[in-house]
């Protein structure tokens, strides 16, 4: 539950700190889960229950073009060394933009109902069209 502060307690300037304490390490090199985000950092706010459908990632089709990473409005595509890793389901709101911009012939990201499992979805993934033999 959000603690509501009095006028004498708030940080002047309508400011919020991103981290709970002073940063001494290189944050970019620190794994996300080890970063000391402050309580009011939006990273701490999970929005997974906003979704009706979720994107499922299929690495077999991905060409690491990074389109999904660029277009995701909520930084919920986790990419490292220019390689698509996974979807951050804590912060993905299920907007479907990643799947929309995915350019591979068979999509590498598909929107499916929230309750469907990843295994089930991957097992039923559309197949690549085989090149017709001449």
């Amino acid at each position: 539950m959000e603690k509501l502060l009095g006028w004498d307690e708030i940080l002047p300037g309508a400011c919020l700190f991103a981290f709970g304490e002073e940063i001494k390490e290189n944050v970019a090199q620190t794994p996300r889960d080890s970063r000391k985000y402050s309580d009011n950092n939006s990273h701490q706010a999970h929005v997974s229950d906003w979704r009706v459908t979720k994107p499922v990632f299929n690495v077999d089709h991905c060409i690491n073009c990074q389109f999904c990473w660029v277009y995701c409005p909520d930084m919920s595509i986790i990419s490292k060394d220019k390689k698509m890793i996974e979807v951050d389901y804590d912060h993905c709101k299920g907007c479907g933009i990643c799947a929309e911009v995915c350019p591979t012939p068979v999509k590498s990201l598909m929107m499916v109902e929230e309750f469907k499992s990843e295994e089930e979805t991957l097992a039923a993934w559309p197949e690549k069209k085989k090149k017709e033999a001449k």
Partner: protein, 409 residues
């Protein structure tokens, strides 16, 4: 010829939609706008009316609010009936051109869905933008509910466009409270509403090639004062014309508007002065106190500019205790209403005890409980015959009590 819109006698509309119907019925020629919450619906719906053939006029998409008001100025000087809508930061960005519009005496109608000003960023309602525009030389009308938003928007054209007035008009409504609360609104059939607003009498059109004209010329110390004084004079004199339009509206459509709206003020010992939807909620609180035999009332300016100095002086001449409620941060002073009301009452034979409350900023809920607490404070003042607290207090604020100006009683 614009298509007739199928309206029922009573529609359930929010203030934004109600106002847009007024703009449609006034058959606005040009509406340049840059949409901003909570006034977006007005712009969206008007452009839809244009696209669907319910308005013959033109909707202009512009690149900013500054451009929106600039286009309003151009179109109005050309002789068109012009309106736009905005709020908050959008109004702030228009400010420079608001002064141009009033200085050029152009009868533009601005629908303002009042919203807080950043920072901190906030989309909800308070009167910061209304207060920001208050010295810009525009007539300012205030709605308390969706019905008023509709009626006042219709009347705004009649008021501003009159050849003796020729001044732009802001129609204020409380953002999200009035702009987004759908309620019963009694509609005037298209033909009657359009006939009431009438044709715009074009004055000194930029497009009149027989009499080429320049608007907004440069004046320095030898001319400037006279222009500003004339504008001030005509703005003050517009009050009598506003009254006439209110009266005519009442005769035709049976809804009464006054320069200053009152609820049980006549015999009241204690009165709250406020603006906007707070008047309605306060009226409910007044009735609750009256049931307990406590003589309280509420009063609000329907017309904020020209400021109804005489009307307030008369209405509050026998009142013993007055609280002025300002829904805008005064940032280093007493609130605007406190200043204006004190000014209006200072030359009366008797002056009441006057206090100032800052409330409802950024959409903070204005509850019956909070408003009751104001009347409880006033009761203490009445008993003591003087202020029992400092002049200015914050109503409904978290943290230690905030009070300023003057020593405690």
């Amino acid at each position: 010829m614009a298509k007739k819109y199928d309206l029922q006698e009573v529609e359930v509309l929010d203030g934004n939609v109600a106002m847009t119907h007024a703009l449609r019925q006034a058959q606005v020629d040009v509406l340049p706008a840059y949409p901003i919450t909570p006034s977006t619906k007005i712009v969206e719906l008007f452009s839809q009316f244009c696209a669907d053939g319910y308005v013959d006029g033109e909707f202009i998409r512009v690149e900013s609010e500054h451009a929106a008001m600039s286009a309003c100025v151009g179109a109005s000087a050309a002789g068109a009936r012009v309106a736009t809508a905005t709020a908050s930061q959008g109004l702030a960005f228009m400010i420079e051109v608001l002064y141009q519009a009033s200085g050029m005496r152009l009868p533009i109608v601005l629908c303002l869905s009042n919203r807080a000003l950043a920072a901190p960023l906030n989309v909800n309602g308070d009167h910061s933008d209304m207060y920001l525009a208050r010295d810009a030389g525009w007539i300012q009308l205030c709605s308390f509910e969706a019905q008023h938003s509709y009626d006042l928007a219709l009347m705004a054209f009649r008021i501003g466009e009159h050849v003796d007035v020729r001044l732009p008009v802001v129609v204020n409504q409380d953002g999200f409270i009035t702009s987004h609360t759908a309620e019963n609104v009694h509609m005037i059939p298209d033909e009657k509403a359009t006939a009431f607003v009438g044709e715009l009498e074009v004055v000194n059109s930029l497009l009149d090639n027989t009499k080429p004209i320049t608007y907004g010329v440069q004046t320095e110390e030898n001319w400037h004062f006279e222009h500003k004084a004339r504008q001030h004079n005509d703005l003050l004199e517009s009050k009598s014309h506003i009254k006439k339009v209110f009266e005519e509206f009442n005769e035709k459509f049976g809804r009464e508007y006054k320069i200053v709206e009152q609820h049980k003020v006549d015999d009241a010992d204690m009165v709250i002065v406020c603006i906007g939807s707070t008047f309605n909620t306060s009226s409910l609180v007044v009735d609750n106190f009256r049931e307990k035999g406590i003589k309280v009332g509420v009063i609000a300016p329907r017309v904020l500019r020209p400021f109804p100095y005489e009307e307030f002086a008369e209405a509050l001449k026998d009142t013993k205790v007055v609280a002025c409620l300002d829904r805008s941060s005064p940032n280093g002073a007493v609130g605007m209403l406190y200043n204006e009301i004190s000014g209006a009452l200072i030359n009366n034979e008797k002056t009441p005890i006057i206090s100032n409350y800052i409330y409802g900023l950024g959409g903070r809920d204005v509850t019956i409980e909070l408003l009751s607490s104001v009347f409880n404070d006033l009761t203490e003042n009445l008993k003591a015959g003087k202020l029992t607290h400092k002049v200015q207090q914050m109503l409904g604020l978290r943290g230690p009590k905030c009070e300023y100006f003057g020593e405690k009683g």
